[in-house]
Symmetry: C2
Subunit: 409 residues, 2 copies
């Protein structure tokens, strides 16, 4: 390959984030390039979950007064620095689908200008469009879709709120959050940012970008565990007015007064709904403790170095086999490499998985590889690229067993 093994080992010796790998429990013989789907397990997660099991057994109902009840706000405050947000601006709760619905209701309910369009993004992760559809059907708003690649500025007429991903889940393309937020606000619309593929993948700058609303998940780059809870950000000065429509007792100003009428909390707590899983939150809290030690600038530098390394090692073989590299230029990139091969893409990914190199495949034709700087070394990436070359050059992927389709997440 165009980069030597000696060279990548040298890069690993100089890597300021190298020690984090030891804080993850990683299976033997696996090169995991799918942390953008489900993050690996921080070693501390096991003890944290065991401690919560002990607490359930020994303290029973008292556990709710020993850290469980306040976990949504406490974990939100631990997450906030990774997102460029402040204390009291982030709450960990429910999932992205539900948090988007809350914000669509919260934002449109405060508008008095008659704008009634909810715009979602073509080519974005589908659930963002699905929940916009659900919201619009229920409330007589109009749902429109921004065609992929279209100029947003030309599609904001009558738009009350647009849902945009900072990093696209397929292409890995990163939008300029500050410029886009300015554009949307200048045209009288509001924007909710979906941070699913940016939280933990790169330094997010919510406050500095002027962003008022965002949602995201914690089970990808943040390593919170399978189905770990989502989060929701509302800038502090936007929290006071309006209702969010999924008004449950945990979002009440005084949940244990058992009042008949709903009176929303005036802070980020208003976006909670009902009772959350103490087990799920404890795994995430263990991961957030690890994140507290991470230099996000160093993370970004390593992320770009790893994605570049992978592309550089494969450039010639991609060209010679007609596989397109659609990975964006570094300033507009998340933390993934995206390749397109509509004919053999699925089989190549399956053949890689059979060798222990885990990436994923998304219809149509997309080979997706996520790069997680905390538990991937430069040598890991080099070895993954070596397997990729071998699979493609040998024709190994042509084996019929790699063409059988199964449900994949």
């Amino acid at each position: 390959m165009s980069v030597s093994l000696e060279r990548v080992r040298d890069l690993d010796r100089q890597d300021p984030l190298a020690d984090f790998k030891r804080r993850f429990a990683l299976p033997e013989g696996i090169l995991y390039l799918d942390g953008n789907s489900l993050g690996a397990q921080p070693r501390a997660a096991r003890d944290a979950v065991a401690a919560t099991l002990d607490q359930w057994r020994d303290e029973l109902i008292k556990g709710w007064n020993q850290g469980w009840f306040d976990a949504p706000e406490r974990l939100g405050n631990k997450l906030a620095p990774l997102l460029g947000a402040g204390e009291g601006e982030v709450v960990v709760t429910d999932n992205i689908t539900l948090n988007l619905f809350k914000l669509l209701g919260f934002i449109t309910g405060q508008r008095t200008d008659g704008r009634h369009v909810v715009l979602s993004e073509g080519g974005n992760f589908p659930t963002d469009g699905y929940i916009a559809q659900g919201f619009c059907r229920l409330t007589d708003h109009e749902h429109r879709v921004l065609p992929e690649g279209a100029d947003l500025a030309e599609h904001l007429d009558g738009v009350a709120v647009v849902v945009l991903s900072e990093v696209n889940y397929r292409t890995g393309r990163r939008r300029d959050m500050a410029a886009t937020t300015r554009l949307v606000h200048a045209q009288g619309a509001e924007v909710v940012w979906d941070l699913a593929h940016s939280a933990g993948a790169l330094p997010v700058a919510l406050n500095d970008s002027g962003a008022r609303y965002a949602v995201g998940c914690t089970y990808k780059y943040l390593n919170g565990g399978p189905g770990a809870p989502g989060f929701l950000y509302v800038r502090r000065d936007c929290q006071g007015e309006g209702w969010q429509p999924l008004s449950g007792w945990h979002g009440h100003a005084a949940p244990f007064a058992f009042d008949a009428d709903y009176v929303p909390a005036t802070n980020i707590t208003r976006f909670r709904t009902g009772t959350h899983s103490a087990l799920a939150y404890s795994a995430l809290e263990a991961s957030l403790a690890l994140w507290a030690d991470v230099d996000m600038q160093a993370l970004r530098e390593k992320s770009l170095a790893l994605t570049e390394l992978f592309r550089e090692c494969l450039a010639d073989v991609l060209t010679s086999h007609g596989i397109e590299d659609i990975t964006p230029a570094s300033e507009a990139r998340g933390s993934q490499v995206s390749l397109v091969d509509t004919e053999h893409g699925y089989a190549i990914v399956q053949a890689l998985i059979a060798r222990g190199v885990i990436g994923d495949y998304r219809e149509p034709g997309l080979l997706r590889f996520g790069f997680t700087p905390l538990y991937l070394s430069h040598e890991d990436v080099w070895q993954a690229a070596r397997h990729f070359r071998e699979v493609v050059e040998s024709g190994e992927y042509r084996d019929p067993r790699f063409r059988v389709r199964a449900a994949v997440t």
Copy 2:
């Protein structure tokens, strides 16, 4: 006391459910009468959660194809027999607040008769009313409250849907589900049953009652763990039409096709939203394995025997100290004993907790004791009653430290 220790030990020897107690991990020195708030821990839960942690570590993303993704339907099918429901009629998902919102949207969206009232029940657990308020504000439905104790038949004019609890969380009063469902349907309205305090507390008869819609939680009598997921029931013949408004990708007919348009699954899956916690579901699944061995008729008999025993042991001391026993007659009772003492109730509950007898207190004046036949013996109940007598007769509850209020769940 009016019942001897020998007598209750004899009852324990004859108890067909006595062996279940060994399948729970219970703390030493605690008499737990709060399983109606948070159920105790089945011993199998620890291994089940550890296995899911192993799976996350070793299988990573593949775990979603190894039982995680289908857990909402699989666990729903395990839960169904306890609710008198059939295969494919129950899904384990989200929480009660969110599941009520889905059903309010699903039901009202199918009405064409102009009825626009959503009725909730005064004195019911507040979140049911809160989410009805949120739904009505968002959709221009009218929210009304059925006054506590009022005749439902006189409050159904214009009602599209009413939310009723089978067992009231405060009084433990059980509604006749079959008769009430008939009444509501006959008046052209629909009813959603909240089973929070009946699932696992007594044999629920959804199908036999003619009920079409229900929601509930699994962290109380079902022992699924702190914040374990909720469930939702829709009778099979009512699943086909309409949208539920919280339309996320896990409820799509083909979630991994990543279609731009939302096409709901035509079965119970349509009520799923987004990604759920594999850890939380594994603890619940361990508990449901235990429930598969339970004879629900025997459970009901023991539940009534335990509540009667507690009342009988305390009858004289309640009278002499002006504490009102509002527990309903056995046929109209859930699995709890409810006492009222607006002056000293809070302090009595705190004094009992200090002795290791865990009940709870709800404003105004309610002392609430839940009875869980799987892990409470007759002697446990007798000993709890003995403590209660001593606390009240000695005036122990008058200690100032028992008057300090803290947040309680």
